[in-house]
């Protein structure tokens, strides 16, 4: 391998919010910084490209968020969503440091959307990037470049060179890059289908990756093989129901299917499996993602009649339509007889609520599984269907770190000069479950810490160097 001797104080590996925040903090602290991103420039930003908002605490209304969101509320919500298993020391850091994110971002040139502009959904928990995550990625990139950070796209790191617990260099296809300290912010492994298959079996072939194709986990898996302490469960994925016709990667927010409460969801046998009316909040996206993973072929079909289709939220791909339910089943390639039985049973079991005009109040009676709300007959032709599969958002799996983002090593202790931030360590905080806007908050808070810690190593090394020169 060609050996390059280009040495920087801090080498940041990754390209998303955590990597950019680390590079900026390290450069601000006076370190020389190299950033290596596996993705090409047009795919810069990791999955921050697809983000929209981030969660932070504030004691009162700010320019970007109405009302208040206290530390206690943030903490309680995250503990509730994950059902425990959260590293409390990291949680304290996350919740406390989140309060400073809006000011820090604005200071780096990131524009946040004004809460009062009348165009945002009400959210007292999050602030929104003006123009979305892509705009934030561009602004942070510009800031990093202005601070002298050298950014190299198309260069992933497969392994590190270790001297005991000290990282001395990163191994890339273009050679070795030495650095005084390293920030590991290159995400998880969930975009690698073979890794998914290893942990989830053949079912993983039916999954669609919603984000960057570059979250392939080469470095994460190398670290774990060498002795990094794992955290979370590789088989635990955050899944969202997406259109089965979506591209294999990077469909982002567009490919979600959202209209489940307006119809029924069947498998390839034409059978219902769950209560479509039970959950009309945004949590239904991930609930259905998890359910679809257990469907035959990991595929379900949302069946709507003309009335349901009119009420359904807009979707990226047009629904598959047919004049009758038999023709629809044939077009979908599912069991027509099974679908006919399901529809007949469903339509016959519908009971109006107290207000017959209110569709939300309708439910089924003596049907299993029930549909507890929005149970309207599926009768008005033409009939329509959206094929759905689980869309992988991230895996709840990574390396264990302490509150300084130091990478925990198997026989106790930590790597000397390597710090992990972002989705590579998010499982310390979210071993399962999710709350919206959390990934960007984790990435920014711990990216900043990792950058500062790495710059501190470089500064200490320089001080030692100066000390030696002084004595000589």
């Amino acid at each position: 391998m060609q050996v390059r001797t280009r040495a920087s104080d801090v080498l940041v590996i990754g390209g998303g919010a955590a990597a950019l925040a680390a590079a900026i903090e390290a450069a601000c602290a006076g370190a020389s910084v190299d950033l290596l991103d596996q993705a090409p420039a047009w795919l810069r930003g990791g999955n921050t490209r697809h983000s929209r908002n981030f969660r932070y605490t504030h004691d009162g209304p700010t320019a970007f968020t109405p009302d208040a969101y206290t530390e206690a509320q943030f903490r309680a919500e995250l503990l509730h969503a994950t059902g425990g298993g959260v590293d409390r020391a990291l949680l304290d850091v996350l919740v406390t440091a989140s309060a400073g994110l809006p000011d820090w971002l604005v200071g780096q040139g990131v524009a946040l959307q004004q809460a009062g502009d009348g165009r945002l959904p009400y959210s007292r928990k999050t602030a929104f990037f003006l123009g979305g995550g892509m705009a934030a990625v561009r602004a942070l990139t510009d800031r990093a470049l202005a601070l002298g950070v050298r950014i190299q796209h198309g260069t992933g790191v497969d392994a590190l060179r270790l001297d005991g617990r000290r990282v001395t260099a990163a191994l890339t296809h273009a050679g070795e890059i030495t650095a005084g300290a390293v920030v590991l912010a290159c995400g998880g492994a969930h975009a690698d289908p073979s890794w998914l298959r290893k942990h989830l079996g053949a079912a993983a072939s039916g999954f669609i990756n919603r984000g960057t194709p570059h979250a392939r986990g080469e470095l994460l898996l190398w670290l774990l093989a060498q002795g990094a302490v794992p955290v979370g469960d590789p088989a635990e994925l955050y899944l969202v129901a997406v259109d089965a016709r979506s591209p294999a990667d990077d469909g982002g927010i567009l490919t979600r299917i959202r209209g489940m409460p307006l119809g029924i969801v069947v498998d390839r046998n034409g059978r219902r499996r769950f209560d479509e009316g039970a959950d009309t909040a945004s949590t239904r996206y991930s609930r259905w993602g998890q359910r679809l993973a257990a469907y035959p072929d990991q595929t379900g079909w949302l069946i709507l009649d003309a009335a349901g289709l009119r009420a359904a939220p807009a979707a990226l791909y047009p629904p598959i339509q047919a004049s009758g339910t038999r023709a629809l089943a044939e077009a979908l390639g599912i069991d027509a007889a099974g679908l006919a039985v399901t529809l007949a049973g469903y339509n016959a079991s519908i009971r109006a609520g107290a207000d017959p005009a209110d569709a939300a109040g309708c439910s089924t009676q003596d049907l299993y599984p029930p549909k507890s709300a929005h149970a309207r007959p599926i009768a008005e032709p033409p009939f329509a269907a959206y094929p759905m599969r689980p869309g992988v958002t991230f895996a709840h799996y990574g390396v264990a770190v302490d509150a300084r983002t130091r990478v925990a090593w198997r026989d106790a202790g930590y790597l000397d000069n390597a710090f992990a931030a972002g989705m590579i360590m998010a499982a310390n905080l979210i071993p399962r479950g999710y709350v919206s806007g959390l990934a960007v908050t984790i990435s920014l808070v711990f990216g900043r810490i990792a950058g500062s810690e790495a710059a501190g190593i470089a500064a200490a090394a320089q001080a030692r160097q100066r000390g030696r020169h002084g004595r000589a």
Binding site: A111, Q114, L130, G131, M134, I253, L254, A315
Partner: protein
């Protein structure tokens, strides 16, 4: 107009229907309506959300509501080379340009918009040349190339009545044509459901639309600025547009002031340097020159990705015409006491003639459509 119209023009005024540009705009806006990350950037995204059907009229409204700020291309997670290939500023620019042709009045003159507006550029140059030649032929050289310093100097080259009649008639024709086009645009972009639930006299909406138009509120990328040259937020295009637009208004005010001097005070041009018409005209002319040069510079340096390659020529033609109007006006002021005055006056009046005659048939008509779209947007905002 004699002879058959070109087929493309005959087909154009019909419904957008199967037009590939409209189909592409509909595809991209449908994506925007699901994603909506950009809704803080300008009024287009909220307006598109109110129009999920994206009818032909909806598309024309949205295309003209777009100020071509370009930020949404660089902020888009689906911009090319992504498979979803969303480049909204470009497709809306294409649609905007085609809407000018489809709503042009009289219809036969929609031909001006074909060929990316290059015809308008050559037509303008031809008009200036023709008017100058006419003056050269009509005015004896001894008069044309002699210095004139006394009151009425300009009118010895082009008679006062001809100047006033020429300017008034061409400007009135432009206003008539633009008014007729706007009427057709307004009817075409009125959503069927909205016409029945208009409430009260919309004073507030008119004021709001006027403020939006005069401040270019939607040309700020939601606050930080627009992608003038590349992805980085900038305020240059908006400020340069202000210099050009308000410079033009000052020149217009100078003309009105001169008319007041002539009719109310009985004073005949040329007016002294410190008179109201000359001060207004000088300030306005300098603003126009600065605005035109700046915008032409941006045009040379900008990333062309979010622009419509087919109508870029028309944008430049409009800027060069305005630059010619302002530049010859300032030159006329500087050299009005010399023997060059006669010829400069002819060229300057030729540029003004071309500007007025071609106002409805090129890029400059965008202001009228933008104002109408902003008014509709303000009316809808009132209803919410």
């Amino acid at each position: 107009m004699d002879g058959p119209e070109p087929a493309a023009v005959r087909a154009a005024p019909g419904p957008l229907g199967a037009d590939p540009v409209a189909a592409e705009a509909r595809r991209e806006l449908a994506i925007c309506n699901i994603c909506n990350y950009c809704n803080g950037l300008c009024a287009v995204f909220a307006a598109a959300e109110r129009r999920p059907q994206l009818t032909a009229g909806d598309l024309d409204h949205l295309a003209n509501l777009c100020h071509h700020c370009r930020s949404c291309l660089y902020d888009c997670q689906y911009a090319p080379p992504h498979a979803f290939a969303v480049n909204l500023p470009r497709v809306l620019a294409r649609l905007r340009w085609s809407s000018y042709a489809r709503f042009a009045w009289p219809r036969s003159l929609a031909a001006a918009f074909t060929d990316g507006g290059r015809r308008v550029g050559s037509l303008a140059a031809g008009l200036v040349l023709a008017f100058t030649l006419a003056v050269l032929l009509a005015v004896p050289p001894a008069v044309l190339f002699a210095p004139h310093r006394d009151p009425g100097a300009f009118y010895r080259i082009v008679p006062w009545w001809l100047m006033v009649a020429g300017a008034s008639l061409t400007f009135a024709a432009a206003l008539l044509a633009i008014g007729a086009s706007l009427g057709r645009f307004w009817r075409a972009t009125t959503p069927a459901a909205h016409s029945t639930r208009r409430a009260g006299t919309p004073y507030v909406a008119v004021i709001r639309a006027a403020v939006d138009l005069l401040t270019l509120r939607n040309q700020q990328g939601g606050g930080p600025g627009c992608a003038d040259l590349d992805h980085r937020p900038s305020r240059w295009r908006r400020y340069l547009h202000h210099a050009l637009f308000y410079g033009f208004l000052l020149c217009f005010a100078a003309t009105l002031a001169a008319a007041g001097y002539h009719h109310l005070l009985g004073r005949v041009a040329p007016y002294p340097l410190l008179s109201v018409p000359v001060l207004l005209g000088t300030a306005g002319g300098l603003g126009m020159v600065a605005g035109c040069l700046g915008l032409l510079w941006l045009r040379r340096r900008e990333d062309a990705t979010p622009t419509d390659p087919d109508s870029r020529g028309a944008d430049s033609a409009a800027l060069w015409l305005l630059l010619a109007v302002a530049g010859t006006g300032l030159a006329l002021l500087a050299l009005r006491a010399t023997a060059a005055m006669g010829l400069l006056l002819a060229v300057h009046l030729g540029t003004v003639l071309a500007l007025f005659l071609l106002l409805p048939y090129g890029k400059l008509v965008h202001g009228a459509y933008r104002g109408a779209a902003l008014l509709r947007d303000a009316l809808e905002a009132r209803r919410r």
